[in-house]
């Protein structure tokens, strides 16, 4: 399975490490003296380099090595973490990302970045380090040269340090290794063993003399002792060769490390492993488990099917007289509901994960536009379904770019207008009922109504001179083909228009709203439903058909008295506890032929501050609703946001409350007509 492939795991890890490094650097640019931050950044660079080399990402390892070295020097206090130093490494982030993803990279870019890094390190107080060569292979151990043909006999006399046993070294395997080289005669040297009273059992008091006949080179014998060679006495003499010195000093610091073999490397492929993580804490050693997103989806499907089956069980049990059956059915309903909630929370991820990406964006935007921009985030702990978060990234980036590019003024303009030089962009998230509301607000110049109007007329979206409300004018911005930028700037004009943002949000069954009161900059509010798959619903009947109303939107249920009913059809208004609440007859909207029930009910729903009472024939009760999407033919019908399968196999359409409330607000609820 791909998830067990270390290279794939590394790809994901690399992204997380780069993220950590970037966040650390951004934090460091605010508090350069923070030693913990320096250590953390160093650690991440070190891991990235080491693992990169392990899995064949040599260019990445080589490049990161230099950044790591620079940070090591900061860590040791040789060099100060100046803003320039931090900026130099930050600039290198994109290059490192490209290397980690296996994208084609310009070596010149990399070289230029390293030259800049070196310059900055020198300026920060350190003499430029000689750029160490990338991981060098060990020099061949002396003695390999005389890998002559034929057998030689060596006398190997050695004693180990006293405490080797405590360190887990075992002499017996060493002797075995010598035996593997060839025929051996082994004699233990017991001279150093102290009397019993002085004997420490955990100390090694023995030495050995081994005569081994082998065709292997001398280095093979030294290799046996590679881990202990610095703390032992070792004599290796070739027996039977004249003119050999009687004692050979142990070879001075032989390459005690194992010569690295060429790493078997999988060529990094250009595709990026999808972030397979439901846990937002990248790289932190929490008790967390990484799960491929696809498995979560499958699990979600299973839970959905369980909920449907449980609905059927509930129906059957409800009609049955068997008390045991009924109590078990109730218990299963309870369990299914809890399982559903657990599943939901597994997929929920704090938006902080999304927001943190934007800090870097603001940094770059600030640099590119020459404007000072402060990014303020609120409600980072607000959680959203993981898949939703991914799809929000691009729209939010576009909105932020828009604010930076068009909304915020230059520092001079701002000062002239009496505002602080630095523009503010506020990114906030909060939960409101069954929705999450994310707002992007800037304190810039706001929406220029005249320019919007001009552009709308120019693009034929508006007849010149036509009278429309301010809200409708602002809505023009979301029409396809609309753009007020005099020129398409690099930053926000990449074919990702506001209309795409709107469609993406609506694709998530959400909505967005632009507001720009005079003198208050502009704000875009995105409303996204919390869950995509299962909701608690209220099942109602209108005529022969059944419908589901999301329970989170339901405020209360009332009876429609015959007097109220006797009033004319069309839009009517109720008084509920001194408040006027409009009500709509769903049977009129749905063109229901069957005669109404004697006593109808009103379900009062609300979204976004608007309330409306929906008149139905009967309220059937709660229903755990697995949302099934409607085909393209029916998704165009705004009144319904999906459908569900009921316990008896029948289908109930799910009402889109937002659509209905805005219908009620705008006009008489005429029978729904198909768009022709």
């Amino acid at each position: 399975m791909s998830s067990a492939d270390p290279v794939e795991i590394f790809r994901v890890e690399a992204q997380e490490l780069l993220e950590q490094i970037e966040q650390g650097l951004l934090d460091l640019s605010h508090t350069p003296g923070d030693k913990e931050l320096v250590a953390a950044v160093f650690r991440a660079l070190h891991t990235l380099k080491g693992s990169g080399a392990m899995f064949g990402f040599d260019a990445l390892a080589g490049f990161t090595h230099h950044c790591e070295t620079a940070f090591d020097r900061v860590r040791k206090g040789e060099v100060v973490a100046t803003p320039d130093l931090v900026a130099a490494v930050l600039n290198a982030m994109d290059h490192m990302r490209a290397l980690a993803e296996g994208r084609p990279c310009d070596a010149h870019v990399g070289d230029a970045l390293l030259v800049e890094l070196e310059r900055v390190v020198a300026a920060a107080g350190g003499a430029p380090t000689a750029m160490p060569a990338a991981v060098a292979s060990a020099a061949p151990a002396p003695g390999d040269a005389d890998q002559g043909a034929g057998l030689k006999t060596w006398r190997v006399v050695f004693t180990l340090a006293q405490d080797v046993l405590i360190n887990g070294t075992r002499p017996l395997p060493m002797l075995d290794e010598l035996r593997d080289l060839g025929e051996c005669r082994i004699r233990a040297i017991t001279d150093a063993i102290p009397p019993l009273e002085a004997l420490t059992p955990t100390h090694c008091h023995l030495g050995w003399e081994v005569e081994v006949t082998t065709d292997q080179p001398r280095s093979a014998i030294e290799d046996v002792f590679m881990f202990v060679i610095d703390d032992m006495t070792l004599d290796i003499t070739e027996i039977g060769r004249e003119a050999d010195p009687a004692v050979e000093a142990p070879p001075a610091a032989p390459a005690a490390s194992v010569p690295p073999q060429p790493t078997t490397a999988a060529t990094p492929e250009p595709e990026i492993a999808s972030a397979a993580n439901g846990d937002a804490k990248a790289g932190r050693a929490d008790a967390s488990v990484r799960v491929p997103a696809q498995r979560l989806d499958e699990l979600m499907d299973r839970v959905g099917e369980l909920v449907i089956a449980q609905s059927r069980l509930k129906q059957i049990a409800g009609a049955s007289q068997d008390m045991n059956l009924r109590s078990v059915a109730e218990e299963i309903e309870h369990l299914a509901s809890e399982l559903r909630d657990s599943m939901m929370s597994v997929r929920m991820v704090p938006v902080a994960q999304l927001f943190s990406r934007f800090r870097r964006l603001i940094h770059d935007l600030s640099r590119d536009t020459g404007k000072e921009i402060d990014l303020i985030t609120e409600g980072e702990t607000t959680e959203l379904d993981k898949t939703v978060i991914e799809r929000l990234a691009d729209p939010l980036i576009h909105l932020i770019r828009n604010s930076a590019d068009h909304g915020l003024e230059s520092p001079e303009e701002r000062l002239a207008a009496g505002k602080p030089a630095a523009g503010r962009i506020i990114l906030a998230a909060r939960q409101a009922g069954a929705e999450v509301v994310i707002t992007v607000k800037d304190d810039g110049r706001g929406v220029n109504r005249d320019r919007v109007r001009a552009k709308a007329e120019e693009n034929g979206l508006l007849a010149p001179g036509a009278v429309i409300s301010d809200a409708e004018l602002l809505q023009m911005i979301f029409q396809p083909g609309f753009s007020t930028a005099a020129k398409v700037t690099n930053l926000s004009g990449r074919g990702v228009g506001m209309d795409v943002v709107k469609r993406t949000i609506e694709g998530l069954r959400g909505s967005l709203e632009l507001s720009s009161p005079a003198g208050e900059g502009s704000q875009v509010a995105l409303r996204i439903p919390l869950t995509l798959a299962i909701i608690d619903g209220l099942l109602v009947r209108v005529g022969p058909e059944r419908y589901v109303i999301p329970l989170s939107a339901v405020e209360e249920c009332l009876e429609l008295t015959p007097e109220q009913d006797a009033r004319s059809t069309g839009r009517s208004v109720l008084t509920i506890r001194d408040q006027l609440v409009p009500f709509m007859r769903l049977r009129s909207m749905f063109n229901t032929k069957a005669p109404p029930d004697a006593y109808q009910k009103i379900v009062v729903v609300s979204t976004g501050g608007e309330r409306v009472g929906l008149v139905v024939d009967q309220i059937l009760g709660d229903h755990q609703t697995v949302i099934k999407p409607l085909s393209v033919f029916h998704s165009e019908v705004g009144a319904f946001s999906g459908a569900t399968i009921l316990g008896d196999g029948g289908v109930a359409l799910i009402l889109d409350v937002g659509h209905l409330t805005s219908e009620a607000a705008l006009s008489d609820p005429s029978p729904l007509r198909a768009a022709s």
Binding site: F590, S631, F633, A639, G649, V651
Partner: protein, 166 residues
């Protein structure tokens, strides 16, 4: 009018034939997932008349399309012979399951390209782009509808497009 040369493979294609208001239609057998007896229908208020209901097909909610409307044919009350043919059709890039109403389903049979011809430009009482080709079998004419075109148009026969048949 595009002649769908991809319809025929080596000059022949297997089709499922069925009846709508006395006219015989045929669609590629490979499109057909299943033929279902009448199923409880849930109407969708506000949907185009062409797809005015949905049904539960194996746990999935699929639209019910009425080709009769696309060809201005009369609807008949459900009878014992009524069926729903479930097909898998690509709509706007996504493979979608759709149920087609049928008054009666006949059989799977082979159509030979040699026995077919393109719909005539005049004299046809239907939208020309809704018909892929016409096939002759014995004395009958079998209509092979262009489902992609019909779905794209949401089954709307052009208002006032009727030409008196010769």
């Amino acid at each position: 009018m595009t002649q769908h040369t991809t319809l025929f493979d080596n000059g022949a294609v297997d089709v499922l034939t069925f009846d709508l208001d006395g006219e015989v239609f045929a669609i590629e057998a490979t499109l057909v997932q299943e033929v279902v007896d009448k199923a409880p229908e849930t109407s969708v208020p506000g949907a185009p008349a062409f797809v005015d209901a949905v049904i539960n097909f194996r746990g999935r909610i699929i639209p019910l399309a009425d080709l009769r409307l696309a060809f201005s044919l009369d609807a008949h009350d459900a009878s014992l012979d009524s069926r729903i043919i479930v097909i898998a059709q690509e709509i706007e890039g996504e493979t979608t399951l759709i149920g087609l109403r049928a008054d009666k389903v006949y059989e799977v049979t082979t159509l030979n390209e040699a026995a077919t011809e393109a719909p005539p430009r005049i004299g046809l009482r239907w939208r020309q782009d809704f018909v892929q080709c016409l096939a002759k079998r014995d004395d009958d004419i079998i209509v092979v509808p262009d489902l992609a075109a019909i779905f794209a148009a949401r089954g709307q026969p052009r208002a006032g497009a009727t030409v008196i048949p010769l």
